[in-house]
């Protein structure tokens, strides 16, 4: 798929998720159960889940609690692919009024929804901007921490996203992301499936290549903190993936094999001072 086609598909799919009341879950066409259920399974505490505006957690992420825990008061935090604002609201509690959180998302409906969530709860130290994570509308060396939760895998050019993250970080600033990677090459039919793309799976690249992209962008101290097999139920409920796997003659891959090759990782890195 061409770069612009991917952006269009991703924007359309996530726009339609934003318009749904968020009662069901995300990962595109269908997965994972409700937001709170997914939230707990990926490491957020009940207290954290209860502390953000209702409707901010669409159950689309793969978890970034470690990044949130690292935030200090007064810091500037940038969230790549902020969605309905869940991680931004949690981050804003930690930066306090002396700090600020900026969420960038290329889906205008998501930005509107996040703004409504912020306004309804009087959260003042968060701003949401429609923008693209591979062309950030953010000044050089202006951010202490870049976070991103299960989004970079959707980008066509992941290395360009890492270059942009590096550019906006202050020297010594941190990049802390959670994302989906694969351990072995996924079958082309899965990789190229548009629905699979939005289902957070087929856009994923191999883990080594992902980390190499960070290194090439200039990041140092690249550390994988957590790596887990992506919940097989999420995949089993994605209709597009089910349809492809239902044709074993074509692929020769079983659901279990695909699930085993898909990992959710959480990674941190530093822009050297």
């Amino acid at each position: 798929m061409e770069k612009e086609d991917i952006k269009k598909v991703v924007r359309r799919e996530y726009g339609s998720i934003a318009r749904q009341a968020g009662s069901s879950c995300g990962c595109g066409s269908g997965c994972c159960g409700g937001g709170a259920e997914v939230g707990r399974s990926i490491g957020y505490s009940d207290q954290e889940l209860a502390s953000v505006p209702a409707g901010a957690n669409l159950g689309l992420g793969c978890g970034n609690p470690l990044a949130l825990a690292s935030i200090r008061e007064g810091e500037t935090v940038l969230d790549l692919g902020s969605g309905a604002g869940f991680d931004c609201f949690l981050a804003a509690q930690r930066t306090g009024r002396t700090g600020r959180v900026i969420g960038v998302d290329m889906t205008p409906e998501m930005v509107e929804r996040a703004r409504e969530n912020a306004a309804r709860h009087g959260i003042e130290n968060v701003e949401f901007i429609p923008g693209e994570i591979d062309a950030l509308p953010v000044e050089d060396a202006s951010v202490d921490l870049v976070i991103s939760n299960c989004v970079i895998n959707l980008a066509h050019d992941k290395e360009q996203v890492f270059r942009e993250a590096f550019r906006v970080l202050k020297p010594g600033g941190r990049l802390m992301v959670s994302d989906i990677v694969v351990t072995a090459g996924l079958p082309a039919a899965l990789r190229d499936s548009v629905a699979g793309y939005v289902g957070c799976v087929s856009g994923a690249v191999e883990k080594d290549k992902y980390l190499e992209g960070m290194r090439k962008a200039g990041f140092a101290d690249i550390t994988v903190h957590d790596e887990r097999v992506f919940p097989i139920d999420c995949m089993a409920e994605d209709p597009a993936i089910r349809a492809i796997l239902a044709d074993p003659g074509r692929l020769g891959w079983k659901l279990e094999e695909v699930a085993e090759s898909v990992r959710s990782i959480s990674v941190s890195a530093i822009r050297p001072a």
Binding site: P108, R115, F128, I129, P130, G131, L136, V138, R167
Partner: protein, 61 residues
């Protein structure tokens, strides 16, 4: 967008400064207006409080 946001946003394409023009503002934020990148000759609209900074080039205007 709050006025304070201006010190951290830039043109998504050339990363240059943006020139703000306000059409409507309340005590909290700028509700409508525009952000001009002189270098790219592109105007980014602010509408309903949201500055749309999805990258564009002059030819798309």
């Amino acid at each position: 967008m709050r006025r304070k946001l201006l010190d951290i946003i830039c043109c998504p394409v050339c990363k240059g400064d943006l020139v703000l023009q306000v059409t409507e503002e309340d005590e909290e934020e700028i509700l409508s207006g525009s952000l001009l990148c002189n270098a790219c000759r592109v105007t980014y609209e602010i509408s309903e409080g949201i500055p749309n900074l999805l990258p564009r080039t002059a030819s798309e205007d």
